[in-house]
Symmetry: C2
Subunit: 238 residues, 2 copies
């Protein structure tokens, strides 16, 4: 198996760094193929965690491969894993990201989702590739604890989960987040648009929600909006 720079159509991808590699081994051991460790890496605690959790993955010292794959200088551990499919739980609340375009943002969002117990995320195409090593790194390995599925259109998503109440986050909405009541007995989809263009006006309805901010800014950034929404949703559902 020759290890090449990641491309969207590669059948495998990488974890860059010890932390996401350990998350890979703990949560998706069966998909881990190889673990590369740099010869100068001497954190014995991490090395033994890798050996304890490696399953069938091969562990090898290989500085050349690590230098080739890492985009930042401080990478000492790289995991290679087989890309896999995961499916959303129809009985859980969802986050739906329509056309997310920034890899760092997507990783940050996935980390917040896991932090607030939101484990099922739909991505409406076109959207960035969740398995790009930049997303995996920004997610700090959270990606391995989540169910993430792509849909060709928002309609396709809605048809797949007809029982979910759709809550689009839009600047044109009338309901403020702080006044919104989320019912425990209701399945909810929290829906967010693209970083630049937001959601199309056709998705505005009586269930749409706005996170109020001063008119001195155009909008909050996407991961910040999501963090606020997840915090408030999580709080009101308890």
């Amino acid at each position: 198996m020759e290890i090449k720079t990641y491309k969207k159509d590669s059948f495998y991808s990488y974890t860059l760094g010890a932390f996401p590699t350990i998350e890979l081994l703990k949560k998706h051991k069966e998909d881990a193929l190889k673990i590369f460790i740099h010869s100068s890496f001497d954190n014995q605690e991490v090395i033994s965690l890798i050996y304890q959790n490696k399953g069938n993955a091969e562990v090898c010292l290989n500085d050349k491969i690590i230098n080739k794959l890492s985009t930042k200088g401080n990478t000492f551990v790289v995991g290679v894993f087989k890309k896999y499919s995961s499916y959303l739980d129809a009985n859980k609340d969802h986050v739906v990201l329509v056309n997310p375009s920034d890899m760092g943002n997507l990783g940050t969002i996935l980390r917040s989702c896991l932090g607030f117990g939101m484990k099922d995320i739909a991505i409406i195409k076109p959207g960035v590739d969740i398995f790009d090593p930049k997303v995996v790194r920004a997610s700090m390995g959270s990606i391995f604890s989540l169910n993430i599925s792509y849909f060709n259109s928002f309609e396709d998503y809605k048809n797949a989960f007809p029982n979910h109440k759709i809550r689009t986050f839009m600047l044109q909405a009338k309901n403020t987040l702080q006044e919104t009541i989320f019912s425990k007995d209701e399945l909810t989809s929290l829906v967010f648009g693209n970083e630049s263009s937001g959601l199309p006006l056709s998705l505005l309805d009586d269930n749409s929600i706005i996170i109020k901010h001063s008119d001195e800014i155009d909008s909050l950034n996407l991961p910040s909006s999501l963090a606020i929404a997840l915090y408030e949703f999580n709080k009101s559902k308890i």
Copy 2:
């Protein structure tokens, strides 16, 4: 005046892009020195906004300078401005950032601060340079509407504002954000640590606050934590 790549000790800095340049002209016209417009830029609305707000700044077409200064390809407008000092309002609430180390994060945080009406921000050194063009760009020009001051130590900050109630955000805190009551009649400082290391344990006290998240992640990212804190603080102070 020869325009060089930005350095921390330069007396001037840049706005990269039309949006932050217009914010510069609207909020800090007196510090704007030059505006460069790319010859291929034909957004007449933006061009007339620039001319209406330019004050004494010189406007010129100069593709070479724009190509030299811009780090991303899609920059058509660059503003050059004199770096200035600003001072915190002793009668307003503050955000205090202890040793922030990421430029994109700092810009995102400044944008959220302005979005929630928090206009006074202290930075405890060492911390990234607010005038670095990467921070200015990530802030979407919010920086020009804020008072931002550096302090050599947290002690120095506290001595300067002895009437502010210090609220450190720490994972070791006992009070959860959602249960915390912020009094309208009290001046508050919301204090956040470095992206990797957080705040030193010496700052933990009975007023410290935690934003609860699941134990499946180590921490939320810094701009996300700040966005949640500002949202909740703003809500409870109303």
